[in-house]
């Protein structure tokens, strides 16, 4: 889960109810407790969380800004469903932003980019281990961590936040198809290629490989979704 507090400045000093509602709602959506298409009233959600409507209302505003829900005026709040079209958009954005992130890291001086490469390699090793152990959940977790680390180390907070937003949107879809697609052995290899280019400071190559990696993932995911007859998800 991508953590990024945008309101409270004190880290966990005293989480407000809004923050609680925001995190709880987001988690509920990510874990399909509130499935896409789910429609409920703020009152109802507030009751479940044991708070008044106000914090829920404000949390919903933030989630709407991030594209996770839509509030229909006087008709309730609905969890956004993703169409294959949405997935295309999301991947186009991720391809561009992660490509840029890889390029940025590779363009950093060696004393900055080499440690980053080390870290990335370490996470990649975790992925490999998880794959050997046939632990798909652990693999997915490490994979997510690898990609998050990639944008973190770009040194661009806005880029990090933007990628986080679209990845949150598409989290459900990736989880859904996790067990449906062939064993992701290619990913580890491709990650190694990205890291190698970063370590050597080959910015253009790092960008190209990062983009190609995500494009391939998309080419694998999109047909799967269509074939599942998933018009919305």
């Amino acid at each position: 889960m991508v953590r990024m507090r945008s309101s409270a400045e004190s880290p966990a000093g005293k989480p407000t109810l809004v923050e609680e509602a925001y995190e709880a709602l987001k988690r509920a959506i990510r874990t399909n407790v509130f499935a896409p298409g789910y429609q409920g009233s703020e009152q109802e959600i507030a009751l479940q969380f044991g708070m008044s409507r106000t914090p829920v209302h404000e949390a919903v505003i933030r989630l709407q800004e991030e594209g996770l829900v839509r509030v229909l005026s006087r008709r309730g709040v609905v969890v956004c469903a993703l169409s294959p079209e949405d997935m295309r958009e999301i991947y186009e954005v991720v391809v561009a932003l992660e490509g840029a992130a890889a390029e940025l890291i590779a363009a950093q001086p060696a004393e900055a980019r080499v440690p980053a490469a080390e870290e990335l390699d370490a996470v990649n090793a975790r992925m490999e281990a998880a794959l050997a152990a046939e632990d798909l959940v652990a693999w997915a977790e490490a994979d997510e961590r690898f990609h998050q680390l990639l944008v973190e180390r770009s040194g661009n907070a806005r880029l990090l936040r933007m990628v986080g937003t679209v990845m949150d949107q598409s989290h459900r879809a990736r989880m859904l198809t996790l067990r449906l697609r062939p064993k992701p052995t290619l990913s580890v290899q491709e990650h190694r290629g990205i890291v190698a280019a970063i370590r050597e400071g080959q910015a253009a190559l790092a960008q190209e490989r990062a983009k190609a990696h995500r494009i391939r993932a998309r080419e694998q995911l999109l047909p799967l979704l269509r074939q599942l007859g998933m018009r919305h998800l």
Copy 2:
């Protein structure tokens, strides 16, 4: 001004007070009526807008999500100032996203990309005319329109929204330096190059030119800001 309603679904059916407050505040920030660093209370803003605190509060939440303001718990809301570091981040993101947009348009079939190229050329002509008439404001307006059109025609709503967000953040800085930098004659030429690549469907070239265009703009803007001693803006 980049318009993008994210809440109300009926186009201007009946703007709510929240929407009013949101637009008014955003405009006030963009036009420097609320200058960076300005700190005020929601109550005070509500008074100016002739409404209660509630709609202002919700508008502020949205603006915070977009990075235009920060609400300090129980100390008021402050308009975000941009450091040169922020400008670097913003341009890195814009370079990546506009590059992707140009690439996406150029990759479209001819019957889609050629009309887009026509439109872009038309706007570019407006820029040229404004430049000949020494009308810098009209030039800036057309320039903004050109870049907005570029991401619009990419056919990716998320990309459009993201670029809009960061451009809103940096609007003030661009306006400030508008009269300080040399006459932007190069822009028209570079735009032509981008459009030509799009028209011919040369995706990689279109991307490259769009990126180079923004990179050059950044190289022109950043030293100017530093030289002005603008630590924040």
